[in-house]
């Protein structure tokens, strides 16, 4: 790690597991649950959040000394909203179908609590480079959970991954379907997202006993 000092590297690796924004800090749940029925949507969402959080952290950290603290929430919201508009316009231009699937949830990145949370907790008190790393780290931690949930929901729900029929063709009865396997359509419905995240939390906390709540 020539580029990053040990302390800086910790900013990236910490949020991946022991300080994960979703399972430990409980931030940014809404989008994590709503768009994970497909793996592709989850990945795009993770990348969008990474862009907004990385850039936003840098911007806030650059102007942190000139924001009057009373109106900082509005300033933060404006910065996020501007970045989200960029993401939304890019998605509409290059991935129209996907932007329809994500529907209002692109806009809801604005109120994704991870973003406001990191601005408040980190960018307001640290330099731009460290804030950037913190943003990327937290977005990665968020992205990992999204990808895990998306992976299981798409695999078990429609038998595909990123649209590829990895388990065989349900109509032609090839692959697993030849053995009588059926897709669990229930995985695609909203309640299962909650239960899958609940199970991820369960697994994580059984592996690391320090995280258990009393």
């Amino acid at each position: 790690m020539g580029l990053l000092s040990k302390k800086d590297a910790k900013l990236i690796t910490d949020p991946l597991a022991d300080n994960n924004p979703i399972t430990i800090q409980v931030l940014g749940i809404c989008s994590a649950l709503a768009i994970t029925a497909q793996l592709k949507a989850s990945i795009v969402m993770a990348i969008s959040v990474m862009f907004v959080l990385g850039m936003g952290n840098v911007v806030i950290s650059l102007i942190r000394n000139i924001i009057p603290s009373k109106i900082r929430i509005i300033v933060q919201l404006t910065v996020v909203a501007a970045l989200v508009i960029i993401v939304d316009q890019v998605l509409k231009a290059f991935a129209y179908e996907l932007s329809k699937t994500l529907s209002v949830f692109v806009g809801l990145i604005i109120t994704n609590c991870i973003i406001m949370g990191r601005f408040e907790a980190f960018a307001l008190g640290n330099g731009p480079w460290r804030s950037f790393l913190d943003g990327i780290g937290n977005a990665l931690g968020y992205g990992i959970i999204l990808v895990i949930v998306g992976f299981f929901r798409e695999l078990l729900g429609s038998g595909t991954l990123l649209g590829f029929k990895v388990l065989g063709d349900p109509i032609e009865k090839t692959g697993l379907y030849a053995l009588g396997y059926e897709n669990n359509g229930f995985m695609l419905l909203s309640p299962m997202a909650l239960i899958v995240v609940g199970i991820i939390i369960w697994v994580q906390r059984s592996r690391n006993k320090d995280l258990i709540e009393d």
């Binding site: 399972t23 409980v26 931030l27 940014g28 749940i29 809404c30 989008s31 649950l33 709503a34 768009i35 029925a37 929430i73 509005i74 919201l77 404006t78 909203a81 501007a82 989200v84 508009i85 939304d88 316009q89 329809k100 699937t101 529907s103 209002v104 806009g107 809801l108 604005i110 109120t111 994704n112 609590c113 406001m116 429609s158 349900p170 109509i171 009865k173 897709n183 359509g185 695609l188 419905l189 909203s190 309640p191 299962m192 997202a193 909650l194 239960i195 995240v197 609940g198 199970i199 939390i201 369960w202 697994v203 994580q204 906390r205 059984s206 006993k209 995280l211 258990i212 709540e213 009393d214």
Partner: protein, 239 residues
């Protein structure tokens, strides 16, 4: 009148913000440890949603939509400012929350003391922005319906947080496996409650296919279509 009643029940039960679209989950999970605080936040959400959705409806109708600036004169008719919606909506919400806070503090100190701490939190609650964005994407036709939508979505959110807070107060006495305690079990209970709320899905359809399609949110719609296609395919195979 009938459409008002229909929208009212649809927003509370079928498209419940928490269970169908996962809006406002962060504060839903964070503030649901005690019933009394949950009631405070829930009331504040109803209030702010009922105020901001109609205001944003007016903004959308007269400033943001493609061609909405026609009232300024014919030469403004081709302007399309809809890309500004996010920033306008969030600015409205932040301002309204501030305004509501000041007004409530002035006229009803008692209400302010019970709602006060929650009001600033609400500006960044996804349920509020989500209400406005869904209002826009569902093309709600009149300001009366927009108010109705805001109010009833708020009530739906209130019901959800009240229910989970009551369950969490009771579950403290149960023997939950240690790693699941707290957050994990709350997620799973919410999932089970969402399954329960799914059964309201048939409430307003009454066999009318058109109404049924409207009742689904955009996301559920695609999912439904997927499953329907698959069912159709399966039956084809079976034949």
């Amino acid at each position: 009148m009938l459409e008002h009643i229909e929208l009212f029940f649809k927003s509370i039960f079928i498209d419940n913000m928490v269970f169908a679209t996962f809006l406002g989950m962060c504060s839903y999970l964070a503030v649901s440890k005690k019933v009394s605080t949950a009631v405070g936040l829930g009331a504040a959400v109803i209030f702010v949603l009922a105020v901001t959705v109609p205001v944003n409806w007016l903004l959308d109708q007269y400033i943001l939509q493609p061609g909405a600036l026609k009232w300024l004169g014919a030469e403004y008719a081709d302007y399309d400012l809809s890309f500004l919606s996010f920033i306008m909506f969030i600015a409205t919400i932040a301002t309204m929350v501030q305004l509501v806070e000041i007004v409530v503090e002035k006229f009803s100190p008692a209400l302010y003391n019970s709602l006060g701490i929650f009001l600033p939190l609400i500006a960044v609650n996804c349920a509020i922005l989500g209400g406005s964005l869904f209002m826009q994407s569902r093309e709600i036709p009149s300001i009366g319906l927009a108010f109705n939508y805001g109010l009833s979505s708020g009530i739906g959110w209130f019901l959800a947080i009240l229910a989970i807070a009551a369950i969490r107060e009771k579950i403290r006495y149960s023997n939950v496996p240690a790693p699941l305690r707290g957050l994990g079990i709350t997620f799973i209970i919410t999932g089970l409650m969402a399954i329960g709320f799914m059964s309201f899905g048939g409430m307003l359809t009454g066999g009318d296919e058109g109404a049924k399609e409207e009742a689904e949110t955009a996301q559920v719609e695609t999912v439904k279509k997927d499953t329907e296609n698959k069912l159709a395919n399966n039956t084809k195979v079976n034949e």
